[in-house]
């Protein structure tokens, strides 16, 4: 059964929670753990693709991304 590590942040934003999570993952992976990441964004946007890069940083594009009904029929 999988175990869970939750990373929260306090005092101010931009403390590097993501980097801390990635670094923990890196260390545990080099110890042989099979792991995955999950990022929860507490915003009402249904997917993060339309969020403002000024506040949230880069809009990262993953391999399979969110699709909505409007695109599913129009992919080349």
């Amino acid at each position: 059964m999988a175990k869970f590590i939750f990373v929260t942040g306090g005092v101010v934003s931009s403390l590097g929670k993501g980097l801390a999570s990635a670094s923990i993952g890196n260390l545990l992976e080099s110890r042989g753990a099979r792991l995955t990441f999950l990022k929860i964004d507490p915003y009402i946007n249904v997917d993060p693709g339309t969020m403002n890069p000024y506040q949230h940083g880069e809009v990262y594009v993953r391999r399979p991304t969110w699709t909505s009904a409007t695109t599913s029929g129009s992919r080349p």
Partner: protein, 453 residues
């Protein structure tokens, strides 16, 4: 690590799913509430990631104390009751600022923020204290006492020169051992030699090159994180550090490319949206093309390169994109035909990974070392096929096409040290241990440019 859509969710996604269930009648007419319905949905979404892995590392965005994150914190507070106390670990990242006037590190913000978490019902197991210096033992003891922790559970997360160093610093502080102990994980000792030597090569390079990034940046540098890191990765094997020279495209419009870009070893025009600053980007690309400066164009950067080539090498003086000049005479970049009917902006772009076929013998083919690649896209406009003949006749090489041949994904110029531009975003596929071939090629060309010129 490659992540997909299931590795991220938002409040909106959770509410959307709960509301859909309510409409379908899944709750049998019951009152639908934040607790338990929203929190149950959150827990279920978290558990859905746990298949086939030993460990899920879950980052809760935002700052403890925000109204927005409360349902998530409530959900993760409940998780030990379902999963067992020994299977859940809470790590809290806080700030321990140094006040110059008092010559002191201050622990009060950390105490308050841990109190806030405990009010919600979460006692953190480990504190990561962001600070610019190592925390002395007595300070760790003080934080531990006030936050209900052992001294070794207070970890210094000191500022470092490169983010790749963070795992090494954490390891020195004993963080991974602590996690293994607390979660009773059956794991061996880590082998960090390879990572250590990678960090050494990034920190102490043999060469430095100046790379101009031409765009609209004020306040946006963090938004190009993948790009600047891909450059770092690309320089590892040639021991070359990229010094990023942020150039406002409007500054090029004012001062001219010659002055704004003198002394750079390479030029990148990255993705972006909107027409402001386009002329500056086009001038920068002209400079790169004519002065034989290595050039890499990404997304909008490729579209600008097409516009530049059409105008200054293929004689289409009015060439532009229909995004900026809707009914111009020579729209070498045009809305994708699939996008014409689309009116909504949310979730309607050409998004995600698509295959691309490379032209044998092209620079792109040489760099990748294979003919079929997968790369990630995010765009609405594309190379207008009506201009293919005209532009290729004047020497532009279309070195990457979609498998059906309809979409131009990569352009390049053969008689140039390195002039490659892509409609996709290669920067998202670069990793420190697996640098992206186009960034590697670009970085080698910039070093060559510096040494040779």
């Amino acid at each position: 690590m490659t992540v997909g859509r299931r590795n991220n969710f938002t409040t909106g996604r959770i509410y959307h799913d709960v509301i859909m269930k309510e409409r379908r009648g899944d709750y049998l007419g019951g009152t639908v509430q934040v607790v338990p319905h929203i929190t149950d949905e959150i827990k279920q979404s978290i558990r859905a990631r746990a298949d086939g892995v030993d460990l899920v590392i879950c980052e809760i965005g935002g700052t403890v104390g925000d109204i927005e994150s409360l349902p998530f914190l409530e959900a993760i507070r409940q998780l030990p009751y379902d999963e067992g106390r020994e299977n859940v670990l809470y790590i809290h990242v806080t700030l321990v600022p140094y006040l110059g006037a008092a010559c002191e590190l201050k622990t009060k913000p950390t105490q308050h923020s841990v109190n806030k978490l405990r009010e919600i019902g979460i006692q953190p197991n480990i504190l990561l204290c962001r600070t610019d210096r190592f925390l002395p033992p007595e300070l760790k003891e003080k934080i531990a006492l006030f936050c209900n922790l052992q001294k070794d559970e207070v970890i210094t997360a000191k500022d470092v020169d490169t983010p790749y160093e963070v795992p090494l610093v954490f390891h020195k502080e004993g963080l991974d051992r602590l996690i293994v102990d607390r979660l009773r994980l059956q794991l061996g000792e880590p082998d960090l030699r390879e990572w250590d030597s990678l960090v050494q090569r990034i920190k102490y390079p043999q060469h430095e090159v100046t790379v101009a990034l031409v765009g609209k940046y004020v306040g946006l540098k963090e938004s190009y994180k993948s790009l600047t890191e891909a450059l770092v990765h690309g320089g590892i094997d040639s021991a070359t550090r990229p010094l990023i020279h942020w150039v406002e495209s409007e500054d090029i419009e004012r001062r001219g490319a010659e002055r704004a870009l003198a002394d750079v070893d390479g030029i990148i025009v990255p993705g972006g949206f909107g027409g402001r600053g386009i002329e500056g980007k086009v001038s920068a690309i002209r400079y790169a093309r004519e002065k034989q400066v290595p050039f890499l164009g990404l997304c909008l950067g490729m579209q600008c390169a097409v516009i530049e080539f059409a105008r200054n090498a293929a004689g289409l003086r009015d060439a532009n994109s229909s995004e900026f000049v809707p009914d111009g005479p020579s729209s070498v970049i045009d809305l994708m035909s699939d996008q014409r009917k689309v009116e909504e902006k949310g979730g309607t772009m050409r998004l995600g990974a698509y295959p691309c076929i490379l032209e044998k013998g092209s620079r792109a083919h040489e760099a990748y070392g294979r003919t079929e690649i997968m790369e990630r896209h995010r765009h609405r406009y594309e190379f207008n096929n009506a201009y293919r003949d005209r532009l290729t006749k004047h020497g532009l090489v279309l070195s990457g096409l979609s498998p059906d041949g309809r979409l131009v994904e990569i352009i390049e110029l053969p008689h140039h040290p390195w002039f490659v531009a892509t409609q996709f975003h290669p920067e998202f596929n670069s990793r420190p241990r697996r640098p992206h071939p186009l960034f590697q090629g670009f970085m080698r060309a910039t070093l060559q440019h510096k040494v040779g010129g």
